[in-house]
Symmetry: C2
Subunit: 201 residues, 2 copies
DNA sequence: CCGCTACGCAACGTAGCGTACCGATTTCGA
DNA sequence: TCGAAATCGGTACGCTACGTTGCGTAGCGG
């Protein structure tokens, strides 16, 4: 739980209800998956969770930060850190796991909705980078660093670009919807990355 | 001008004011560039263009389709179709032109705002693909087809994936904002595409 | 038991949406 | 020349959701 404020709860007075926290996040996650960020309203989250609107606003300052909190844990859990001993296999596993996640319409709707919302909300964009983008990229970075240690790829390779080449095309198809994200697409993209890094396999 | 309805204007009655069309589109483009789609309102477009709100709704059914119309022509004009005789040079020129365009904050805001809006509006998403994605991809496709004709790349290469690998990473950085889109990034991505296609240069 | 804080609830002001009218204007066709 | 048609600017409306405020109640610590 990150909410907005700091974590230092004053010890005086009635404590915040943990049950309310969970009810709000569950309702928010459900609505987020059903309709996306834009078409979900705080009032609806309140109604569905059986919690007063004021109770939500006491915890989250905006719809975006609530939606992010409702999404982050579930999504990050779906992104493994493969360690097969081969760069190509690692990349395949990572991208396939991502594909499997976004093949669920609910996950896809939540993901695209949050990226969309972040475009018009600098605070949400910063939280998005810090809580989602950086953690996931950190994992992916590890795959390339391990490959470098094994001598599969040059030690001075630009890992950031490699990550963008690996996942950028997938996000591109997800957001533009011009073509489906197929298994063949996954393999083809991984081939580009492996070839571009001059990996010796 | 695409607006929403068909182009067959009835010959009877007062014709639509061309001046109003331009005033609306200019005002919409300015607001779109300043604040993005989400934070621009039809009421503001009306005030700024000196046109009644009803006059706007007579032409466009939603904020999204108006914003798209206000954006499309200007943006497509910035995307050239290079023909240098070499695939690598063509790709560099195309991606550099795109980079130069989105380096303008106004263009970037309009572009990301529209992609964001399309995530929660199926009609806008369809129009986006038809009026922006497909035309641009058509141009880019040509670059690869010419390279295939020149024998630079295999004739059976999957051009769609190549396009996604070329522009996906760039859109990824633009939308996530985790890293800047530098000239070095452009060159590195082009290298991935050229290497992945096994191009003989 | 007192002080503090969270709770549910209801009400409020604000904003923007999209629609419905209005009288006035401009054009075409009979 | 006149009427039908479709536009124009303007105003008003109902609607939804926002985010806030105030109130009385509930729960916890000193």
């Amino acid at each position: 739980m990150h909410e907005d404020g700091s974590d230092k709860r004053p010890q005086r007075g009635r404590p915040r209800s943990e049950k309310a926290d969970r009810a709000i996040l569950d309702a928010a996650a459900a609505l987020l998956a059903q309709r996306g960020v834009a078409d979900m309203s705080i009032e609806e989250v309140a109604a569905r969770s059986g919690v007063a609107k004021t109770t939500i606003y006491r915890r989250w300052s905006s719809k975006g930060s609530l939606a992010l909190d409702a999404f982050v844990d579930r999504f990050l859990r779906l992104q493994p850190l493969p360690d097969t001993g081969s760069l190509r296999s690692d990349l395949l596993r990572a991208l396939r796991a991502w594909r499997r996640a976004v093949l669920e319409p609910e996950t896809a709707r939540s993901l695209t909705g949050l990226i969309a919302a972040a475009q018009d909300d600098p605070d949400l964009a910063a939280a998005w980078r810090q809580r989602v983008v950086e953690p996931i990229r950190g994992q992916w970075r590890t795959m390339f660093e391990r490959a470098a240690e094994r001598g599969e790829i040059p030690g001075d390779a630009d890992v950031e670009v490699a990550i963008d080449v690996l996942f950028g095309p997938a996000y591109h198809r997800l957001l533009n919807g011009h073509l489906p994200i197929t298994e063949g697409f996954v393999r083809a993209v991984v081939d580009y990355v492996v070839a571009g890094l001059g990996a010796r396999e």
